[in-house]
Every structure is written in C-alpha cells, then in structure tokens.
Amino acid sequence: MKKDLVIIGGGAAGLAAALSANHPDIHILVIEREKALGGILNQCIHNGFGLHVFKEELTGPEYASRYMDEFLKMNIEFLLDTTVVDVKKNDDFELTVSSFENGLFKINAKAVILSSGCYERTRGSIAIPGERPKGIMPAGSAQRYLNMDGYLVGKRIFILGSGDIGLIMARRMTLEGAKVLGVAEIMPYSNGLTRNIVQCLNDFDIPLYLSHTVTNVKGKDRLEQITIQEVDSQFNPIENTEKNFDVDTLLLSVGLVPDISLFDSLDFKRDAVTKSAVVNQFYETSVSGLFICGNALHVHDLADYVSVESEKAGKSAQKYILNSKEPSKQIHPIEFNSNIRYVVPQLIDFDQFKDSIDLSFRVSKKMDSAIFKIMQNGQVISTKRAKNLAPAEMEKINLKSVTLVDQSPISLILEEVIL
C-alpha cells in the first residue's frame, strides 16, 4: 500500500491534522487502534471542552463528534482496530501494520504525522512501597472502565496525585456512589486546573493533602489500607505524620508521558523534559517528513490546544508533500531561563519564519505575578504580563515575525514580580 501521508492515531490530534492536511492531490490514511475514532475524548464524558475552538462548552464525546463529522464528510481513508508495529525510514517511511481483519501488512508513506497521544505513569514509575495487591491502577484506566464499559472499580477510593484525570475521577467515582477519602499531592500545590479543584473536590468535600504522598500499601489479595505521610521540601517523608485510610482502590494520577516508543528506531533529537521529539515551528522532527503533534509531542491541559497545534502540523505536512523545499541554514534553538521548564517548538527555522509562531511552555514554579520577555540579540522585542502562573497550566505566547531584529536566536525570559 502506498500513501502520501499516514497519520498514526485518530483522536483529537490526528483528526485535526487530517482535516487541515486534506488536499485533492494528497492520499491520506489515518490509522486508529481502537474500534472507533475520537481517542481518549470518548471516555472524557465531563464538560469543559471546546470553549476556545467552538466558543461553547462541550463534553469530550461531543467535541470528538464535531471533528469526526467533518472528517467523515471529506472521505479521508481510515483504518480502525489497526496498530502500527514498526517504522523504518529510507527515502520514504515504511510502516509495518497489524490488524485482526487484514493481518500483517506494509504501508509506504512520504510523510508521517505521529498523533498517538500519551500514556499514564503507573505504580512502577513512582515506586510506591508496600505489598502488591490488586486495586491500584492509573486514574485514566478507571475512567475507561467506568465511562465506556460501565464498571466501577471500587467502593472506597484514595487518589494519589492531583493531575486533572485524578480530580475528574474523584468527582466521577463520587457521583457513581463510591466514597473518595482524599487526594494526596507530593508538591505543595495542585497539579490540576484550579477549576477542577473547585468543582471536583470542594463541591464534594473531598480533602486535598498537599505535600503528602503514599508511603505504605497493605493488602493480601485486594488492597486493604494505604498510609500517607507529609513530606519535607526534599520530598522525604516526615516521621509521625502517618495517616491510614481503609480503601479498596488507589487511583494514580501521577503524570502522562508522550507515547512515541514506536519511533525509537528512527533516532531523532529528543527533549529530556517533554520526553518527546525536538521540533521546529512546523512540528517537524529532525527526521525529514516526520511530524508530531498533540499529547505525543507534549502533554496538553486542553483538547482545544491539541486541535489548534495539530491543524498546524497537518498544514505543514501538506506543504512538505506538495512542495520541495530548500534545506534551511538558519535554525536556532529557543533559549529560556530557569523559571521556564520547557518551550515547544524547541527550534525556529528563520529562513521560513513567516507571520507568527505560538510558543507553548510551562513555568517551573508557582508565581503570583510575572513578566515574559522575548529577547533577540540583546534587545527586548516583546513583553507580556501574567498573573497566577502555575506549572500545571500551559502558557502560550505569540511570536510575530515582524518583531524580529535579525536571524539570531530567540530567548524567552520569565521574571517573577514580587508584589
């Protein structure tokens, strides 16, 4: 099978990328491993989606259906229940693909967009001490069991980590009749959106234990009890702060990691913080013709931001296929100071910098008030004030080509303003 563009993953990112890449001269194929398009949006039955893109508040399935309806109208080819198992690159990409219906087969593609989302960190990733009973699982898995399959995974729940999925599941399990005894967060601040603290925890009087973590797990077969302890500034448990909770389930909301292991063999440049590829403003990796967007590139707070980013990646892939481009000479990394954890895109191709670029980034600590400065060649070319910054909330800043002084590297500086 020969295609111009293969998009791996038919969720929020893949659908938006497919819509914008669509062109009469380009053969696109979307590969989705589930039995339906829409990805993780299908299990996110809560509302809060679409406020940026559609200017109205939608649930996850509704948000997905807007994109699916458009996608189906365009007659773009797609395969469901199909998994990509291997990728090679010579001049073109050679994908080895597997499905129950068609067995193992190969697809050649001029360009690939990786929009395969992210996976949840598990108990093994954070090494929780204690016994190994059943009843300990990532919050997103519990969400899938409950919202898609109709199974409530437990009756007495504790949640470790205050990421958004954990908070959403605290409410969801409560609504379904489970008792959520608390949420522990090792950091001194919440890792979820503040609106989720309000409407998922405060609404149901679920306590949030900041600077606490789980230090023991008991249970022979099923989970019986967990112990939480306060931690000091070095995250070491403090003696005599133990609290025990008799629970049958511990949900983990301890972080998401971009799922790009499929492409490990391609050896592209990586970002140690995002745990994904380094990309330029076209969301193209150091492997020519390989684009990455959505949660496979860096973990987003909002599906709306995934869609916006993925549309750009789709457009870039379209241009890549239709035009042959000159190799660029002026590619520089974006520099940033220690108040910023990471910036995406990591690189700017100055030879092809037209209009503007959205820089997405996260701050490294909570700040009440701060000023962003974009610097080039020793000059401040743009500033922006911001309030209530937190690592849990992604920030964006728009860099316009007209503000550039020359083609020297850009740096993004965040200065805290102490009031």
């Binding site: 509302n47 508040e57 649930t59 399935p61 509704e62 259906s65 898609m148 399959d149 309000v198 409407q199």
Partner: protein
C-alpha cells in the same frame, strides 16, 4: 468579601465578590454570572452515563443541557439509574425531558447504534 475561583472555563480566574455582590477579577462576563449564581443558588452541569443494550457501546454518555441546582445532582443520578437505552440514539437526543421539574433536559452526548450488524 468572598474569594472564589471561576469554573466557567479552564482559565480559572480568581474572583472577588463584595457584600453588594460586585464581582471583580473576572476576565469575561461569564465570570460575573458565575460568581453571583454561586453566591445565591449554585448550579452545575451534570455529566454521567446510562445503560444501553448495545454490546459495542454498553454506556451512553449524557448531560444536562444547562446547569441544574447543585443540590439536585444526586437525585437526578438516582433517576438515571433506572434508564436502559434500547433504541438508536443520536447526539443531542433527549434522554429525560425536564429532569426533576427543572425545565432542563437530559441529552445524549454521543450517538449509539444498538445493533450495528442489522
């Protein structure tokens, strides 16, 4: 003075409401509406699922079309417990009209084909 965080959208503005119900700190009009409602009669959109007889899609996701009073949420869930969807449903279809006499409909948030092989 009451401090609160707006939940009208993911921005999460920090709001201040004074004794005369003047709202500040909001970046848009939704924030003012939210703060006054929260002080007088808090409401929430309820999202949950109901049972279906479909093998591929055993749960249908639903929501209240508009926010309902916060204190009615568990009563509304109880009502939904007894519902079994055995006919095809399109996104936006009313699953329960005028839930608990609130004037607000419970609607499907996805489409379900009960037997896709027919």
């Amino acid at each position: 003075m009451t401090k609160m965080i707006c939940i009208a959208c993911p921005v999460g503005c920090h709001l201040l409401v004074d004794d005369e119900m003047h709202v500040s700190g909001n970046k848009c009009m939704r924030g003012e509406k939210y703060a006054i409602e929260e002080m007088t009669h808090p409401t929430r959109i309820l999202t949950t699922t109901v049972k279906t007889t479909s093998l591929l899609t055993p749960r249908l996701s639903v929501k209240t079309k508009d926010p309902i009073p916060k204190e009615l949420i568990f009563e509304a869930l109880q009502l939904l417990e007894g519902i079994i969807i055995d006919n095809d449903v399109k996104i936006g279809d009313v699953v329960i009209p005028n839930i608990l006499n609130t004037g607000i409909d419970m609607v499907a948030t996805k489409s379900v084909t009960i037997n896709p092989f027919h």
